[in-house]
């Protein structure tokens, strides 16, 4: 590698780092003061990019249009942040962390479909920045002028933020509130207004990042999710709530990204997650973060009500229907039922983690996908018989879960979630880029069941046995002393430790069991579809079971299959009638969080009691 190439890569890494810093600093700031982990931050970024595109084209200002559009778009997004904070977030500041996450995630869905509605799903190429359009020679190579300008702008923005935080009273209040919100109120400061102002500033920064990105990349419908993952990595690596940490981490991640592409092109996707995983394992609070006051356990107070019991006759009736009805159903419906069964088990396995154990995983797709790939690889490379391959699915997933779960259960709530995400992304990147073995994004095809199981009914009953059986086993696990002990550790970790419970060991075992059944679900699913793709390990696949569990009701295992069924049916129906399924889902989620936080079973249970 020549020195000039190294310099060019370094510069392009820094340019990217500056955009990352803008976004991540806003995210970190919002978290630091309000304790809200704002998934919609990437959506604000995307929104500002599209607004800049439209404003530049429509403002009758000639070459100045772009330079007016950028601050205007950022300010509009700041204003949108104001609306979101006042109308939605204010209601959930005291709710469990998970509900806050879901609410902002719902916004992601709504905004994504909104952008699709107004700007379409075609990629758009933004305007170049007038005056900065070309390239300049740097050490004998050409480098985009605009990127140089960004590198210059970055320190200016950092300096402006520094001035704001360290030289204004507002900044003093923000820093004080990051440490002790209640004391700030005792000193006469209105927290509500402080929170709103922080959210507006954070959204503005996200918007600025998005607006400035327009000349650098095409506008796509997925730029929200790609930036939010990266921004989270930066925030977590830097330490949640630390703006200097965000700057440091943005530079580290930006530069690693740039060189990763050069040195290990096939591993470029995975590099930043490897970095995050290593940093979280070595420094669980990030580079410049500080440990929270609470004890360090993976669990958290998600479930605040006692367990719900679904009456036995109801269960028996459901099982009987599942056995008797399919032969009279049209084939298409039988296939839908198989898919529901697989997702019911998938969601149920997540329930063991997040419901019973209080550990919210953002990477449960790993178990599903590793199970699916485990089975598919057995078929493709070992020519294993179908039932052997199906049995290998849960084992493969459990072994992997044992490996990465060992590290995950050492971290507390949000860091736990981020590390599970990191491992899922690493797994995703491996199957995505290891073409020779996994087929990359072409996936593996022709993973069909044995001939005697290939018919819809035969396969349905196999799925009923594997997934229904899996759920029944999970029910046993949750009711056994092991499950009871997990619930105890979730409710009060220090108390559980002082009654002789080795919490980490229990959480690790739960992680492995959840991986096992997630893998079984993935194995069942792969033979239904006949193929496997890296998507099975991607972020949406981790989010779906989360939504299902909450939709059904997190207090009971039975909520998971109920949620899976309702979700999949809605999905099937809604996608038939509308292109805006995400909007519908987002609206449902908002309703769930604000109106029915206890899910379907919770609502039904309340009715019956009343």
């Amino acid at each position: 590698m020549s020195p000039s190439l190294i310099l060019i890569q370094l510069l392009s890494g820094l340019a990217h780092a500056m955009v990352l810093f803008l976004i991540a600093s806003g995210l970190s700031l919002i978290f630091g003061v309000t304790r809200i982990v704002n998934f919609a931050h990437g959506s604000f970024y995307m929104l500002a990019a599209y607004l800049t595109y439209t404003l530049t084209a429509t403002l009758p200002l000639g070459v100045a249009a772009f330079y007016v559009a950028v601050p205007l778009a950022a300010a509009s997004v700041g204003l949108a942040g104001l609306g979101v904070e006042v109308v939605l977030l204010r209601r959930v500041y005291r709710a469990p962390e998970l509900y806050q996450l879901l609410l902002t995630f719902a916004l992601v869905l709504v905004i994504a479909d909104g952008v699709k509605f107004f700007w379409g799903s075609e990629n758009l190429t933004g305007p170049a920045a007038p005056g900065l359009a070309g390239s300049v020679p740097v050490a004998g190579q050409l480098f985009p002028t605009y990127d140089l300008a960004l590198i210059a702008l970055g320190p200016l923005v950092a300096a402006a933020l520094w001035w704001l935080f360290y030289r204004t009273r507002w900044g003093v209040l923000i820093r004080a509130a990051t440490q002790d919100r209640e004391m700030v109120a005792v000193l006469g400061v209105d927290q509500a207004r402080l929170f709103t102002s922080v959210f507006v500033l954070g959204s503005f920064l996200a918007g600025l990042g998005g607006a400035l990105q327009v000349p650098r990349q095409a506008l796509t419908n997925v730029m929200d999710t790609s930036i939010i993952t990266e921004a989270f990595v930066v925030v977590v690596v830097g330490g949640m709530g630390s703006v200097p940490g965000a700057l440091l981490a943005a530079v580290v991640i930006g530069v690693i990204d740039a060189f990763g592409v050069l040195v290990l092109p096939r591993a470029s996707l995975v590099m930043m997650f490897v970095v995050m995983a290593v940093i979280l394992i070595v420094r669980p609070w990030g580079l410049l973060g500080r440990p929270p006051a609470q004890p360090r356990t993976a669990g958290g107070a998600i479930v605040t009500a006692s367990a719900l019991r679904v009456p036995r006759p109801w269960m028996a009736a459901v099982v009987a229907l599942l056995i008797v009805v399919p032969p009279v159903l049209p084939t298409f419906h039988v296939w839908v039922l198989v898919e529901i069964l697989a997702f019911a088990l998938f969601a149920a396995s997540l329930h063991l983690l997040m419901g019973t154990g209080g550990m919210v995983s953002f990477g449960h797709a790993a178990s599903f996908g590793l199970g699916a790939y485990g089975a598919a690889l057995c078929v493709t490379w070992a020519k294993a018989p179908m039932l052997v391959a199906l049995a290998a699915a849960p084992l493969a997933a459990a072994v992997c879960a044992a490996l990465y779960g060992y590290f995950c259960v050492r971290l507390s709530s949000i860091y736990f979630a981020m590390l599970t995400l990191a491992f899922a992304q690493i797994a995703f990147a491996i199957v995505h880029q290891w073409y020779d073995v996994t087929g990359g994004d072409n996936g593996l095809l022709g993973i069909w069941p044995a001939p005697w199981l290939a018919g819809p009914l035969a396969y349905y009953y196999l799925a009923l046995a594997s997934c229904g059986g899996g759920i029944a086993l999970l029910a046993l696990v949750e009711r056994a002393p092991f499950g009871l002990t997990l619930r105890a550790a979730r409710d009060h970790a220090p108390r559980a430790e002082t009654v002789g419970i080795n919490i980490r060991l229990h959480q690790w075992l739960a992680f492995i069991v959840a991986g096992f059944f997630g893998g079984l679900a993935g194995g069942t699913f792969v033979f239904l579809k006949g193929s496997v793709f890296p998507d099975y390990l991607a972020v949406p696949m981790s989010v779906e079971p989360l939504v299902m569990v909450l939709l059904g009701g997190v207090q009971a295992l039975a909520g998971a299959p109920v949620g899976a069924a309702v979700y999949k049916l809605l999905d099937t129906v809604a996608t038939r009638y509308t292109d805006y399924w995400q909007l519908v889902l987002g609206a449902i989620l908002i309703l769930l969080v604000l109106v029915f936080p206890r899910g379907i079973l919770g609502v039904v249970g309340d009715r019956r009691r009343a």
């Binding site: 696990v477 009711r479 092991f482 108390r495 009654v499």
Partner: protein, 252 residues
């Protein structure tokens, strides 16, 4: 002289520049009920958290039945037979009172990782007996999250007794309770302790409670034991009076 159940030597713990526990040493004989008192910030809770494993000491030694326990994880210390309660009630809120005790019982019998049987049928009699003993049998099926505060304190005691401990550490067992209930709970605690020949070390603010049940009282001030003796001796100790009434600042 028989070997003490607990032998504490020169335990120290500092937070930044503040010496919260500054060289505490004492012996606790089997069957003793001793109170550890002192003004706010004296280091009582810090010391308790060190004994039970929640905090790591900077130095010193603690031998329980002749074995070192300082620095062990809380769950290991509990398994050795040292049980504790917390100042702010710590129970499993979504579990019923019976399940709260059951969790501890199952841990004691080594069955907390059992998978093959539902927990519902296990340790029923022993758990109910413990609830009975603290007077909570009629609340057995109610979730801890809805119990009255006084009942939570009783539940904590039942949980703490689940491993048939030899040493019971009670951190302000009556704090937050209605005054009228405090005496009754401590009388109950004392009678259970005598019945099981338990050794009890407790901190407490309520002096009525302290003098009613403690056989011996230790006074902690700025991380040091400044008095240790029979209740009447401690009461008559001029240094203790000075500390409690703040006279030391003006005596020099």
């Amino acid at each position: 002289m028989p070997e003490p159940l607990l032998r504490v030597r020169d335990v120290r713990k500092a937070f930044g520049g503040v010496r919260a526990v500054d060289g505490v040493s004492f012996d606790l004989a089997r069957g003793e009920i001793r109170a550890l008192i002192g003004p706010n910030g004296a280091g009582k809770s810090t010391f308790f958290n060190i004994l039970a494993g929640q905090l790591r000491a900077d130095g010193g030694a603690v031998a329980y039945r002749g074995e070192q326990i300082l620095g062990l994880a809380p769950y290991v210390i509990w398994r050795r037979g040292v049980s504790r309660t917390f100042q702010i009630t710590a129970t499993f809120a979504t579990l019923s009172a019976l399940e709260n005790v059951r969790v501890a019982r199952l841990s004691h019998t080594g069955d907390s990782r059992m998978l093959r049987r539902p927990a519902d049928g296990l340790e029923v009699e022993r758990s109910l007996a413990l609830l009975e003993q603290v007077g909570l049998a009629d609340q057995a099926v109610r979730p801890a999250g809805v119990l009255a505060y006084g009942d939570l304190k009783k539940l904590e005691l039942a949980i703490a007794l689940a491993n048939d401990p030899e040493l019971l550490l009670l951190d302000e067992p009556t704090a937050g309770m209605a005054p009228a209930e405090r005496g009754a709970l401590m009388a109950l605690t004392a009678s259970i302790a005598r019945e099981r020949t338990l050794t009890v070390l407790f901190t407490e603010h309520d002096m009525d409670v302290v003098f009613a049940i403690a056989g011996r009282i230790m006074v902690l001030h700025q991380g040091r034991v400044i008095a240790d003796g029979a209740p009447d001796e401690v009461r008559a100790d001029p240094e203790v009076q000075a500390v409690y009434l703040g006279e030391e600042a003006w005596t020099t």
